[in-house]
């Protein structure tokens, strides 16, 4: 991995549940030492009604969710530079594709909630991206008993995700993280038993 800081982009809509995907994207950004763009759209009418305020507040709430359910020892979320990118315009996917044409990022993380039933839309995003991770549906992990550890949960979701055009060194980068090794070890042990 070269020394230039990677940029991840997480598109979201406050009309769909997105806190789980946000938390996963945050964790990935931390593990890759990347910055995270939080992309959404707002209509002109919503903007006049002060809905931008709602978006910023929703993002702060999402971060509270991350702190509560996902932040574990060793992860300092303040080390992840986050930037809200709120586009005044139309539909999320169309605006995202336009945005990616002029503002390329390293990886786009697409949540199940915004991709459902729009395979073509995802294909177009993949076409315009350097790399895409399409997250599969997930249950909220508020109850940690369902997950051996939070780090394992992160890798479980990665394993179940569809990966497109990811850079060759993507797994090398994550491989520097010991929790991956621990996850694989447990995974192999489970397979054996």
């Amino acid at each position: 991995m070269n020394s230039v800081k990677k940029v991840l982009l997480y598109p979201f809509s406050i009309d769909c549940p997105y806190f789980e995907g946000y938390a996963w994207a945050m964790e990935l950004a931390f593990r890759m030492r990347a910055s995270l763009q939080l992309f959404t759209t707002i209509s002109a009418a919503q903007n006049l009604n002060g809905s931008t305020d709602c978006i910023y507040l929703s993002l702060l709430e999402a971060h509270g969710y991350f702190l509560q359910h996902y932040q574990h020892k060793g992860i300092k979320s303040n080390e992840v530079k986050r930037e809200a990118c709120i586009i005044q315009g139309g539909e999320l996917k169309e605006e995202l594709i336009l945005h990616l044409k002029t503002n390329p990022v390293d990886i786009v993380i697409i949540d199940f909630s915004i991709s459902t039933g729009h395979t073509e839309g995802v294909k177009e995003i993949v076409k315009e991206s350097c790399g895409v991770i399409l997250l599969s549906e997930d249950q909220p992990s508020g109850d940690n008993k369902h997950h051996p550890s939070r780090a394992d949960h992160f890798y479980d979701r990665l394993r179940r995700a569809d990966l497109y055009k990811l850079p060759e060194n993507f797994f090398d980068t994550l491989g520097n993280d010991l929790s991956l090794f621990n996850y694989l070890r447990k995974f192999i042990q489970r397979k054996r038993s």
Binding site: Y56, L60, G64, Q68, H69, N78
Partner: protein
Amino acid sequence: MSTRIISKTTDEELVMSIRLDDREALGELYNRYYKKVFNKCFSFTRRQEQAFDLAQEALMKAFENIHSFKGESSFSTWLYTITHRHCLAALKKSSRFQFQPLEENSGTEEEKNDISLTEEENNERAEQELIMYSLINALPEKERDLLNLKYLQGESIENLKTQLNISGSAVKMRLKRSREKLNTLYTLALTYGLDKVLEQVELFTMS
């Protein structure tokens, strides 16, 4: 802790639970304050994007260092102090509000002792500075830039005359009006509170 019980728990009790790694307590305490922190940051910046950046940084600073909360004040006071200081530091850092450092060796030793401030006085001064910056920030762009150029960046009337392409007397008149407006706003802020003045600042700043 169940959700029903946790909602009635005091902030300080939640902090104690967080120290015992109670994640639900952390979520509850965070949710009680993130909107207030955002609104506080917005009252300083008047820009949502900047307020969001400052709020998330201030919240992180507080929640990732919650173990340093000693309970000498209420949790809300502690959190708002962190937010205040974070906003102030950010405003000072931004190019618009560059300070002119005091000249070294100015004044006698006695004078220096006279101006050595207690912690309380320091806080008071920081508070006054914060009010002033927030008010300057809320002024119409032309007035804000003029005050910054003259008093924070130390530009001469001659330079301002050239930069603004107006006569010297016009520069002086604009400066006088901007100063008077700022003084009025400052007095109102001290009387009624900064938030209230900022809420209605447009009424005062209409030319």
